[in-house]
Protein backbone atom coordinates (compact mmCIF):
# COMPACT_ATOMS: atom_id res chain seq x y z
CA UNK A 1 0.00 0.00 0.00
CA UNK A 2 1.17 3.52 -0.81
CA UNK A 3 1.46 5.87 2.17
CA UNK A 4 1.36 9.63 2.33
CA UNK A 5 4.73 9.62 4.09
CA UNK A 6 6.47 7.84 1.24
CA UNK A 7 5.01 10.32 -1.27
CA UNK A 8 6.15 13.16 0.96
CA UNK A 9 9.70 11.76 0.93
CA UNK A 10 9.67 11.61 -2.86
CA UNK A 11 8.40 15.20 -3.10
CA UNK A 12 11.48 16.22 -1.14
CA UNK A 13 13.39 15.42 -4.35
CA UNK A 14 11.27 17.72 -6.53
CA UNK A 15 12.96 21.11 -6.61
CA UNK A 16 11.80 24.60 -7.51
CA UNK A 17 13.25 25.12 -11.02
CA UNK A 18 13.99 28.79 -10.26
CA UNK A 19 15.59 28.20 -6.87
CA UNK A 20 16.93 24.65 -7.12
CA UNK A 21 17.97 24.38 -3.47
CA UNK A 22 14.35 24.45 -2.35
CA UNK A 23 12.09 21.43 -2.57
CA UNK A 24 8.41 21.90 -3.24
CA UNK A 25 7.84 21.01 0.43
CA UNK A 26 10.29 23.70 1.60
CA UNK A 27 8.39 26.23 -0.52
CA UNK A 28 5.16 25.36 1.25
CA UNK A 29 3.18 24.92 -1.96
CA UNK A 30 2.08 21.33 -1.27
CA UNK A 31 -1.35 21.78 0.31
CA UNK A 32 -2.52 18.21 0.43
CA UNK A 33 -1.43 14.67 -0.35
CA UNK A 34 -4.12 12.03 -0.52
CA UNK A 35 -3.82 8.36 -1.27
CA UNK A 36 -7.02 6.52 -2.03
CA UNK A 37 -6.65 2.76 -1.46
CA UNK A 38 -10.16 2.09 -2.75
CA UNK A 39 -9.27 3.72 -6.09
CA UNK A 40 -6.19 1.70 -7.06
CA UNK A 41 -3.96 3.76 -4.72
CA UNK A 42 -4.68 6.94 -6.61
CA UNK A 43 -2.34 9.72 -5.50
CA UNK A 44 -3.90 13.14 -5.36
CA UNK A 45 -1.66 16.14 -4.79
CA UNK A 46 -2.96 19.67 -4.41
CA UNK A 47 -0.49 22.49 -4.96
CA UNK A 48 -0.97 26.23 -4.73
CA UNK A 49 0.82 28.74 -6.96
CA UNK A 50 3.26 31.19 -5.42
CA UNK A 51 2.43 33.99 -7.87
CA UNK A 52 -0.44 33.94 -10.39
CA UNK A 53 1.88 34.18 -13.36
CA UNK A 54 4.81 32.18 -12.05
CA UNK A 55 6.08 30.15 -15.02
CA UNK A 56 7.63 27.65 -12.60
CA UNK A 57 4.22 26.33 -11.58
CA UNK A 58 3.51 24.37 -14.76
CA UNK A 59 7.01 22.97 -14.65
CA UNK A 60 6.59 21.99 -10.99
CA UNK A 61 3.31 20.16 -11.71
CA UNK A 62 5.04 18.25 -14.46
CA UNK A 63 8.14 17.53 -12.37
CA UNK A 64 6.01 16.08 -9.56
CA UNK A 65 4.29 13.81 -12.03
CA UNK A 66 7.55 12.74 -13.68
CA UNK A 67 9.26 12.04 -10.37
CA UNK A 68 6.39 9.84 -9.20
CA UNK A 69 6.29 8.02 -12.54
CA UNK A 70 10.01 7.45 -12.29
CA UNK A 71 9.48 5.85 -8.86
CA UNK A 72 6.88 3.54 -10.31
CA UNK A 73 3.64 5.26 -9.36
CA UNK A 74 1.13 5.53 -12.18
CA UNK A 75 -2.16 6.76 -10.83
CA UNK A 76 -1.42 10.45 -10.20
CA UNK A 77 -3.46 13.61 -10.18
CA UNK A 78 -1.90 17.04 -9.56
CA UNK A 79 -4.32 19.94 -9.20
CA UNK A 80 -3.89 23.62 -8.40
CA UNK A 81 -5.86 25.48 -5.79
CA UNK A 82 -5.74 29.27 -5.34
CA UNK A 83 -7.30 29.78 -1.93
CA UNK A 84 -6.01 30.20 0.71
CA UNK A 85 -3.39 32.24 -1.12
CA UNK A 86 0.22 31.14 -0.71
CA UNK A 87 2.32 33.09 1.73
CA UNK A 88 6.02 32.98 2.52
CA UNK A 89 4.99 32.09 6.09
CA UNK A 90 4.45 28.57 4.77
CA UNK A 91 8.09 28.21 3.83
CA UNK A 92 9.86 25.71 6.06
CA UNK A 93 12.64 26.73 8.45
CA UNK A 94 14.93 24.25 6.71
CA UNK A 95 14.03 25.95 3.42
CA UNK A 96 14.97 29.35 4.79
CA UNK A 97 18.35 28.00 5.92
CA UNK A 98 18.96 26.52 2.48
CA UNK A 99 18.06 29.81 0.81
CA UNK A 100 20.50 31.71 2.97
CA UNK A 101 23.29 29.22 2.30
CA UNK A 102 22.51 29.64 -1.42
CA UNK A 103 23.05 33.42 -1.12
CA UNK A 104 19.41 34.51 -1.14
CA UNK A 105 18.11 36.32 1.93
CA UNK A 106 15.10 34.33 3.21
CA UNK A 107 11.74 36.05 3.74
CA UNK A 108 11.36 37.73 7.10
CA UNK A 109 9.22 35.66 9.49
CA UNK A 110 6.61 38.36 9.94
CA UNK A 111 4.78 39.99 7.05
CA UNK A 112 5.91 43.57 7.31
CA UNK A 113 5.37 45.63 4.21
CA UNK A 114 3.32 43.59 1.77
CA UNK A 115 1.16 46.67 1.60
CA UNK A 116 0.57 49.39 -0.92
CA UNK A 117 2.02 52.19 1.22
CA UNK A 118 5.02 53.94 -0.27
CA UNK A 119 8.66 54.13 0.68
CA UNK A 120 8.71 51.68 3.54
CA UNK A 121 11.77 49.51 3.78
CA UNK A 122 12.05 46.10 5.28
CA UNK A 123 15.09 45.40 7.38
CA UNK A 124 16.74 42.58 5.47
CA UNK A 125 19.95 41.00 6.65
CA UNK A 126 22.72 40.21 4.21
CA UNK A 127 22.98 36.45 3.57
CA UNK A 128 26.77 36.71 3.28
CA UNK A 129 27.93 38.81 6.21
CA UNK A 130 24.67 39.00 8.25
CA UNK A 131 24.82 42.80 8.38
CA UNK A 132 21.49 44.59 8.76
CA UNK A 133 22.92 47.64 7.06
CA UNK A 134 21.37 46.99 3.65
CA UNK A 135 19.56 49.03 1.00
CA UNK A 136 16.78 48.12 -1.40
CA UNK A 137 17.86 48.40 -5.03
CA UNK A 138 14.67 47.17 -6.70
CA UNK A 139 11.40 45.71 -5.49
CA UNK A 140 11.52 43.22 -8.31
CA UNK A 141 14.42 40.90 -9.00
CA UNK A 142 15.17 38.11 -11.45
CA UNK A 143 11.80 36.50 -10.62
CA UNK A 144 8.52 37.85 -9.24
CA UNK A 145 9.24 36.38 -5.81
CA UNK A 146 12.50 38.25 -5.26
CA UNK A 147 13.64 41.81 -4.60
CA UNK A 148 17.18 43.14 -5.00
CA UNK A 149 19.20 44.53 -2.12
CA UNK A 150 22.72 45.71 -1.55
CA UNK A 151 24.76 45.21 1.61
CA UNK A 152 26.38 48.47 2.69
CA UNK A 153 29.04 46.62 4.68
CA UNK A 154 30.33 43.82 2.46
CA UNK A 155 29.15 45.77 -0.64
CA UNK A 156 27.64 42.70 -2.26
CA UNK A 157 24.31 42.86 -4.06
CA UNK A 158 21.94 40.02 -3.19
CA UNK A 159 18.44 38.69 -3.82
CA UNK A 160 15.82 38.79 -1.12
CA UNK A 161 12.98 36.26 -1.26
CA UNK A 162 10.35 38.84 -0.42
CA UNK A 163 7.48 38.47 1.99
CA UNK A 164 4.25 37.69 0.25
Amino acid sequence: MVTELEIRQILEEVKDPEVPVLSVLDLGIIRKIEVNPSDDDKIKIIITPTYSGCPAMDVISMDIRLKLLEKGYKNIEVTQQLSPAWTTEWMSEAGKEKLKAYGIAPPNPKQQFCKEEMFMQEMVSCPRCNSHNTTLISQFGSTACKAMYRCNDCKEAFDYFKCH
Partner: protein
Protein backbone atom coordinates in the same frame (compact mmCIF):
# COMPACT_ATOMS: atom_id res chain seq x y z
CA UNK B 1 13.26 48.52 -13.59
CA UNK B 2 12.76 46.71 -16.88
CA UNK B 3 12.58 43.57 -14.76
CA UNK B 4 9.97 45.16 -12.51
CA UNK B 5 7.79 45.89 -15.53
CA UNK B 6 8.21 42.34 -16.81
CA UNK B 7 7.32 40.89 -13.43
CA UNK B 8 4.22 43.05 -13.22
CA UNK B 9 3.21 41.89 -16.71
CA UNK B 10 3.75 38.30 -15.66
CA UNK B 11 1.47 38.76 -12.65
CA UNK B 12 -1.18 40.32 -14.88
CA UNK B 13 -0.95 37.52 -17.43
CA UNK B 14 -1.28 34.99 -14.60
CA UNK B 15 -4.35 36.75 -13.27
CA UNK B 16 -5.88 36.92 -16.75
CA UNK B 17 -5.24 33.18 -17.19
CA UNK B 18 -7.05 32.44 -13.96
CA UNK B 19 -10.06 34.43 -15.13
CA UNK B 20 -10.02 32.93 -18.64
CA UNK B 21 -9.76 29.39 -17.27
CA UNK B 22 -12.73 30.02 -15.05
CA UNK B 23 -14.74 31.68 -17.84
CA UNK B 24 -14.08 28.70 -20.12
CA UNK B 25 -15.13 26.29 -17.39
CA UNK B 26 -18.35 28.21 -16.72
CA UNK B 27 -19.14 28.21 -20.42
CA UNK B 28 -18.52 24.49 -20.77
CA UNK B 29 -20.89 23.58 -17.94
CA UNK B 30 -23.58 26.12 -18.95
CA UNK B 31 -27.01 25.07 -20.23
CA UNK B 32 -27.83 25.48 -23.90
CA UNK B 33 -29.96 28.53 -23.17
CA UNK B 34 -27.11 30.16 -21.24
CA UNK B 35 -24.66 29.30 -24.00
CA UNK B 36 -26.90 30.99 -26.52
CA UNK B 37 -26.88 34.12 -24.42
CA UNK B 38 -23.06 34.08 -24.25
CA UNK B 39 -22.73 33.41 -27.97
CA UNK B 40 -21.77 36.95 -29.05
CA UNK B 41 -18.68 36.73 -26.83
CA UNK B 42 -17.53 33.29 -27.94
CA UNK B 43 -14.77 33.16 -30.58
CA UNK B 44 -16.10 32.32 -34.02
CA UNK B 45 -13.14 30.16 -35.08
CA UNK B 46 -13.44 27.95 -32.01
CA UNK B 47 -16.90 26.84 -33.12
CA UNK B 48 -15.34 24.65 -35.82
CA UNK B 49 -13.03 22.93 -33.36
CA UNK B 50 -15.66 20.59 -31.87
CA UNK B 51 -14.00 20.52 -28.50
CA UNK B 52 -14.55 22.26 -25.17
CA UNK B 53 -13.71 25.93 -24.85
CA UNK B 54 -10.24 26.62 -23.40
CA UNK B 55 -8.50 29.64 -21.95
CA UNK B 56 -6.31 30.04 -25.04
CA UNK B 57 -9.35 30.25 -27.33
CA UNK B 58 -10.57 33.23 -25.34
CA UNK B 59 -7.18 34.92 -25.49
CA UNK B 60 -6.14 34.13 -29.05
CA UNK B 61 -9.34 33.87 -31.08
CA UNK B 62 -11.73 36.55 -29.96
CA UNK B 63 -12.28 39.49 -32.29
CA UNK B 64 -11.63 43.06 -31.29
CA UNK B 65 -15.25 43.87 -30.47
CA UNK B 66 -15.49 40.81 -28.22
CA UNK B 67 -12.86 42.30 -25.94
CA UNK B 68 -14.51 44.34 -23.18
CA UNK B 69 -11.32 45.68 -21.57
CA UNK B 70 -10.72 49.19 -20.32
CA UNK B 71 -9.18 51.44 -22.97
CA UNK B 72 -6.37 52.45 -20.62
CA UNK B 73 -5.01 48.89 -20.81
CA UNK B 74 -4.63 48.91 -24.60
CA UNK B 75 -2.78 52.20 -25.02
CA UNK B 76 0.62 52.02 -26.71
CA UNK B 77 3.94 52.36 -24.96
CA UNK B 78 5.11 55.85 -24.15
CA UNK B 79 8.07 57.16 -22.20
CA UNK B 80 8.82 55.99 -18.67
CA UNK B 81 6.56 58.61 -17.08
CA UNK B 82 3.66 57.47 -19.25
CA UNK B 83 4.27 53.80 -18.43
CA UNK B 84 4.52 54.45 -14.70
CA UNK B 85 1.48 56.72 -14.48
CA UNK B 86 -0.68 54.35 -16.52
CA UNK B 87 0.30 51.49 -14.20
CA UNK B 88 -0.42 53.60 -11.14
CA UNK B 89 -3.94 54.57 -12.28
CA UNK B 90 -4.75 50.99 -13.20
CA UNK B 91 -3.24 49.33 -10.12
CA UNK B 92 -5.01 51.75 -7.77
CA UNK B 93 -8.29 50.72 -9.42
CA UNK B 94 -7.45 47.03 -9.52
CA UNK B 95 -6.58 47.01 -5.85
CA UNK B 96 -10.02 48.35 -4.94
CA UNK B 97 -11.68 46.01 -7.42
CA UNK B 98 -10.05 42.87 -5.99
CA UNK B 99 -10.85 44.02 -2.47
CA UNK B 100 -14.53 43.95 -3.44
CA UNK B 101 -14.27 40.78 -5.49
CA UNK B 102 -12.78 38.96 -2.54
CA UNK B 103 -16.18 39.31 -0.89
CA UNK B 104 -17.92 37.67 -3.85
CA UNK B 105 -20.26 34.76 -3.11
CA UNK B 106 -18.59 32.96 -6.03
CA UNK B 107 -15.82 30.95 -4.38
CA UNK B 108 -13.51 30.84 -7.40
CA UNK B 109 -13.76 34.57 -8.15
CA UNK B 110 -13.11 35.27 -4.52
CA UNK B 111 -10.07 32.95 -4.57
CA UNK B 112 -8.63 34.62 -7.69
CA UNK B 113 -9.11 38.03 -6.08
CA UNK B 114 -7.52 36.88 -2.82
CA UNK B 115 -4.50 35.66 -4.74
CA UNK B 116 -4.26 38.68 -7.05
CA UNK B 117 -4.63 41.43 -4.48
CA UNK B 118 -1.31 40.52 -2.87
CA UNK B 119 0.39 40.99 -6.23
CA UNK B 120 -1.48 44.20 -6.97
CA UNK B 121 -0.37 45.67 -3.64
CA UNK B 122 3.22 45.45 -4.93
CA UNK B 123 2.30 46.97 -8.30
CA UNK B 124 0.55 49.85 -6.58
CA UNK B 125 3.41 50.49 -4.20
CA UNK B 126 6.00 50.32 -6.94
CA UNK B 127 4.09 52.60 -9.32
CA UNK B 128 3.15 55.20 -6.68
CA UNK B 129 6.78 55.48 -5.62
CA UNK B 130 7.75 56.16 -9.22
CA UNK B 131 5.02 58.76 -9.61
CA UNK B 132 6.52 60.58 -6.63
CA UNK B 133 10.08 60.21 -7.91
CA UNK B 134 9.21 61.60 -11.31
CA UNK B 135 6.73 64.26 -10.17
CA UNK B 136 9.01 65.54 -7.45
CA UNK B 137 12.19 64.84 -9.38
CA UNK B 138 13.93 66.98 -11.97
CA UNK B 139 12.45 69.64 -14.22
CA UNK B 140 12.46 67.12 -17.09
CA UNK B 141 10.84 64.26 -15.17
CA UNK B 142 8.16 66.61 -13.87
CA UNK B 143 7.46 67.90 -17.38
CA UNK B 144 7.24 64.38 -18.74
CA UNK B 145 4.85 63.09 -16.10
CA UNK B 146 2.67 66.16 -16.53
CA UNK B 147 2.51 65.45 -20.26
CA UNK B 148 1.58 61.85 -19.50
CA UNK B 149 -1.09 63.05 -17.11
CA UNK B 150 -2.66 65.20 -19.81
CA UNK B 151 -2.87 62.24 -22.15
CA UNK B 152 -3.99 59.62 -19.67
CA UNK B 153 -6.46 61.38 -17.42
CA UNK B 154 -9.33 61.08 -19.90
CA UNK B 155 -8.99 57.29 -19.78
CA UNK B 156 -9.51 57.02 -16.02
CA UNK B 157 -13.25 57.72 -15.97
CA UNK B 158 -14.11 54.45 -17.68
CA UNK B 159 -12.93 52.46 -14.67
CA UNK B 160 -15.85 53.75 -12.66
CA UNK B 161 -18.64 52.89 -15.07
CA UNK B 162 -20.83 49.88 -14.36
CA UNK B 163 -22.24 47.70 -17.12
CA UNK B 164 -25.01 45.12 -16.78
CA UNK B 165 -22.44 42.35 -16.71
CA UNK B 166 -20.32 43.92 -13.94
CA UNK B 167 -20.48 42.17 -10.58
CA UNK B 168 -18.94 45.13 -8.82
CA UNK B 169 -20.52 48.55 -8.60
CA UNK B 170 -17.50 50.39 -9.96
CA UNK B 171 -19.04 53.82 -9.37
CA UNK B 172 -18.73 53.21 -5.65
CA UNK B 173 -14.93 52.79 -5.95
CA UNK B 174 -14.35 56.21 -7.45
CA UNK B 175 -14.02 58.31 -4.31
CA UNK B 176 -11.48 55.98 -2.70
CA UNK B 177 -9.51 55.85 -5.93
CA UNK B 178 -9.48 59.65 -6.07
CA UNK B 179 -8.35 59.82 -2.44
CA UNK B 180 -5.43 57.51 -3.22
CA UNK B 181 -4.47 59.44 -6.36
CA UNK B 182 -4.72 62.77 -4.53
CA UNK B 183 -2.52 61.65 -1.66
CA UNK B 184 0.19 60.30 -4.00
CA UNK B 185 -0.08 63.36 -6.25
CA UNK B 186 0.35 65.63 -3.28
CA UNK B 187 3.70 64.03 -2.49
CA UNK B 188 4.58 64.10 -6.16
CA UNK B 189 3.77 67.82 -6.43
CA UNK B 190 1.22 67.04 -9.13
CA UNK B 191 -2.29 68.44 -9.45
CA UNK B 192 -5.34 66.29 -10.03
CA UNK B 193 -6.82 67.63 -13.30
CA UNK B 194 -10.16 69.37 -13.12
CA UNK B 195 -11.27 68.27 -16.59
CA UNK B 196 -14.27 66.00 -16.46
CA UNK B 197 -14.72 64.77 -20.04
CA UNK B 198 -13.85 61.09 -20.17
CA UNK B 199 -13.17 58.64 -22.97
CA UNK B 200 -15.16 55.39 -22.95
CA UNK B 201 -16.29 52.52 -25.17
CA UNK B 202 -13.92 49.68 -24.29
CA UNK B 203 -16.42 48.01 -22.00
CA UNK B 204 -18.91 47.90 -24.87
CA UNK B 205 -16.34 46.51 -27.29
CA UNK B 206 -15.56 49.82 -29.00
CA UNK B 207 -11.82 50.29 -28.93
CA UNK B 208 -9.00 52.63 -29.80
CA UNK B 209 -7.13 51.86 -33.02
CA UNK B 210 -4.31 50.42 -30.91
CA UNK B 211 -6.08 47.23 -29.86
CA UNK B 212 -6.25 45.89 -33.41
CA UNK B 213 -2.45 46.05 -33.76
CA UNK B 214 -1.98 44.38 -30.38
CA UNK B 215 -4.34 41.54 -31.21
CA UNK B 216 -2.86 41.07 -34.66
CA UNK B 217 0.54 40.50 -33.14
CA UNK B 218 -0.74 38.35 -30.29
CA UNK B 219 -3.14 36.23 -32.31
CA UNK B 220 -1.56 35.78 -35.71
CA UNK B 221 -0.05 32.39 -34.92
CA UNK B 222 -3.20 30.78 -33.59
CA UNK B 223 -5.20 32.24 -36.47
CA UNK B 224 -2.72 31.13 -39.11
CA UNK B 225 -2.18 27.67 -37.63
CA UNK B 226 -5.38 26.88 -35.72
CA UNK B 227 -4.88 24.67 -32.68
CA UNK B 228 -1.11 24.79 -33.01
CA UNK B 229 0.76 23.77 -29.85
CA UNK B 230 4.43 24.00 -29.06
Amino acid sequence: QDIAITNISLDLIGQARNFFQYAALLYNIATDAEKKEMDPLVPRLWKDYSRELQEDDLAFLRDENQYLNLLITELPKGDWAYTVLKQFFFSAYQHLLFEQLQESSDAQLSAIAEKSIKETAYHLRWSSEWVVRLGDGTEESNRRINNALQELWMFTGEMFTTEDYDLIKNDALKQRWLDKVSSVFQQATLTVPSTTWMQSGGKQGRHTEYLGYLLAEMQHLQRTYPNATW
